[in-house]
């Protein structure tokens, strides 16, 4: 299946493969929903039981995903995303993933500052003081806007605890 893409000018992930994976995933979700709904009762007991609606919707989802699956198998393959593009996307996604992970341990302020710095150094061509400015300003501005102006508490970590918030 992946061989089909080798004739194309730029190599990349097969669209057909992704299309099939997504369709299978949707069918899996539909199956889970059906299993859960019928477990609680998806029938008709003087009116619909509470699994009735989700079960019907899940069945429709499974049929639609099946149609997508068949369509994907019949269509000519193309490139979903070239490996070059995928590398660029990963350059954004990996820092973003680490950022979300870091929020759990460091709180949102420190994590945001580190994320800004990492992103700017990795992907941009900034001078050191520009990066430093962004790293310092990001938590201060967000703190001022959310904590002080809108009084919305954001997740905090050990550093803020040390500062007494």
């Amino acid at each position: 299946m992946a061989e089909a893409s080798s004739s194309l000018p730029e190599r990349g992930l097969s669209r057909r493969l992704v299309e099939i994976l997504v369709a299978l995933l949707l069918i899996g979700i539909a199956a889970l929903a059906l299993w859960d709904s019928y477990g609680r009762g998806a029938g008709w007991d003087n009116g619909p039981e509470n699994g009735f609606f989700p079960a019907r919707v899940a069945a429709i989802l499974a049929i639609a995903a099946g149609a997508v699956l068949v369509g994907a198998l019949r269509r000519e393959d193309s490139v979903f995303v070239t490996y070059g593009q995928l590398r660029l996307v990963a350059q954004v996604f990996v820092p973003l993933f680490l950022y979300v992970l870091a929020i759990a341990f460091l709180g949102i302020y420190l994590a945001s500052a580190l994320f800004m710095g990492l992103f700017m150094v990795m992907l941009g061509a900034f001078r050191w003081w520009q990066v430093a400015l962004a790293v310092v300003l990001t938590p201060l501005v967000t703190f001022w806007v959310f904590e002080l102006q809108f009084r919305v508490p954001l997740p905090k970590g050990p550093v803020e605890a040390m500062l007494g918030f």
């Binding site: 949707l26 919707v57 996307v89 979300v100 945001s112 061509a125 990001t138």
Partner: protein, 513 residues
């Protein structure tokens, strides 16, 4: 006459100084949101929604709807100067807008686009002013069965009118419904589809889903294209504006045609994108020089912009009168109504008069303010696009994460945002439409409640959905719309077999480098 009095009352509400301030702030924020990649109308409104929880509902909706208008105006800037459509319905604007900019007539194209948007929006607001109260009055007679009929019609028209692969639209809708069903079931009190996970008990909040689907995914898509935007410069001075305005009356037929198409398609859910293409196509067909289209014809900017804004504005009509949004952004605004403790639907026109008419009055004022602001500030906003992406992208992502967190003060929601960002990225690349998913997520519970209440009333007899003329015609209309699309496809396939039917989306995609 009574409605006009109400409208005057609305102007009194909308013209208080702090509401005007919110309007201006909203329009400015909206233009930023419309210009920046990764922050479209629905996402911008979704991020700011949690911050308005404590506000007076009227001021809050004026702020948020002004962001919507601003985003609509902002979309035209990127379409014309950068050949990057800000929203799906600005795609048709790039066909003639970008060539005009390449010829050094960007100022003219922008003025025409903004003015056309204003005219389109104005016709939509006039429609809302006069038709929405009637629809609401009519809808007061609706029972659960009728409401389910309207929901059914909404979803069917999404499937029937959508330009994407039908199976994918259905899959997207169904996924939205399933996500909406997760959590506590309001009628039986049971937990559904949680599989024992406590995080899923409260269900999926549509705001978090929207921020992921429209915000994070957009950043991932933008980065694929590389990190630089190459745009044309534009300066608008009064001379250009006046000259362009002087030329507009010649196109009155196009403007009226596009407005009507837009209003019609806007009330039908999912119609704004189709409306812009239809407006463009009709203008080309009726033009005396159709060959000039696509090479920088001012009419080719006017037609889609008028239609898209007429549709975008009219999309608020069913949201206000029936509680059924006509677009993704309208769906987010509707979610806002529920969060502020307002029950969307026809009762709103009776119980919350000052809210409804304040909003309608603010639509007139917000669009006027938007036109003036956007004409005055185009160079500033075009400059935003020249800020390095490596600085803009992390700021947007941080804002998205904070936005997702503030909805329910839940750290788990930030993970959900990330997951839906990936889902949005993959779905967009595979041409799964996202608007039906959001709509089903917002409306899912209410559609199901209407369905079950109707059946409780009838003792489980399905014939309740065909029990009177009103509900039967709603259901039949829905079924007709459902088969409309597939029949049209079939006819097209039969008539131009082997022909070169290239969807317009791909033409635009190849231009956006």
């Amino acid at each position: 006459m009574d409605d006009l009095n109400q409208l005057l009352l609305g102007f009194q509400v909308a013209l208080t100084w702090h509401n005007v301030l919110f309007m201006v702030v909203g329009v400015l924020l909206g233009i930023v949101v419309g210009v920046l990649p990764g922050l479209g109308g629905p996402n911008g409104v979704a991020i700011l929604l949690p911050l308005t929880f404590g506000m007076d509902p009227t001021s809050a909706i004026i702020l948020l709807s002004s962001i919507y208008w601003g985003a609509l105006f902002g979309g035209a800037i990127t379409s014309i100067l950068f050949n990057i459509p800000g929203e799906a319905w600005s795609v048709a604007t790039t066909f003639d807008g970008y060539p005009l900019a390449q010829q050094g007539r960007a100022g003219e194209a922008l003025t025409a686009a903004f003015t056309a948007s204003f005219i389109g929006a104005l016709s939509g607001v006039v429609l809302i002013t006069f038709v929405a109260p009637l629809v609401a009055k009519f809808a007061l007679r609706f029972g659960p069965a009728e409401f389910f009929g309207v929901f059914f019609l909404t979803f069917c028209s999404f499937i029937g009118m959508g330009r994407e692969n039908k199976a994918k639209i259905v899959a997207s809708l169904a996924l939205g419904f399933l996500l909406a069903a997760v959590g506590l079931d309001t009628i039986s009190g049971d937990l559904r589809l949680t599989f024992g996970a406590p995080e899923l008990m409260k269900g999926f909040d549509f705001l978090v889903v929207v921020i992921g689907l429209f915000g994070v995914s957009e950043i991932l898509l933008t980065i694929e294209e590389g990190l630089h935007f190459k745009g044309k410069r534009a300066a608008i001075d009064l001379g250009v504006v006046l000259r362009t305005w002087a030329g507009l009356p010649r196109y009155w037929a196009t403007l009226i045609r596009s407005s009507v198409v837009g209003m019609w398609m806007g009330v039908t859910p999912g119609g704004a994108i189709a409306a812009s293409f239809m407006g463009y196509g009709l203008a080309k067909r009726f033009s005396r020089r159709p060959d000039a289209f696509g090479r920088g014809e001012i009419e080719g900017v006017l037609a889609p912009e008028t239609a898209a804004h007429a549709a975008g504005t009219s999309a608020l009509l069913p949201m206000l009168a029936l509680g059924i949004p006509g677009s993704a952004t309208a769906a987010v605004l509707l979610g806002g109504l529920m969060i502020w403790g307002l029950q969307p639907g026809p009762m709103l026109f009776i119980e919350k008069k000052e809210f409804v008419w304040g909003l309608i009055a603010s639509m007139y004022l917000g669009n006027l303010a938007g036109l003036l602001i956007v004409l005055a500030t185009v160079p500033v906003f075009a400059a935003i696009m020249r800020i390095p992406f490596a600085l803009v992208a992390p700021i947007i992502l941080v804002v998205c994460a904070i936005g997702a967190f503030t909805v329910e003060s839940s750290r788990f929601d930030i993970w959900l945002m990330l997951i839906f960002g990936v889902v949005g990225y993959v779905f967009k690349k595979l041409d799964y439409p996202l608007a039906p998913l959001v709509l089903a997520l917002v409306l899912g519970d209410r559609a199901e409640d209407a369905f079950r209440q109707a059946l409780l009333g009838s003792g489980g007899d399905l014939s309740v959905f065909f029990s009177n003329a009103l509900v039967s015609s709603l259901m039949i209309l829905g079924l007709l719309l459902l088969v409309w699309g597939p029949l049209g496809d079939l006819r097209q396939r039969l008539t131009r077999r082997g022909g070169n039917d290239q969807p317009p989306r791909e033409i635009a995609g190849s231009g956006a480098s």
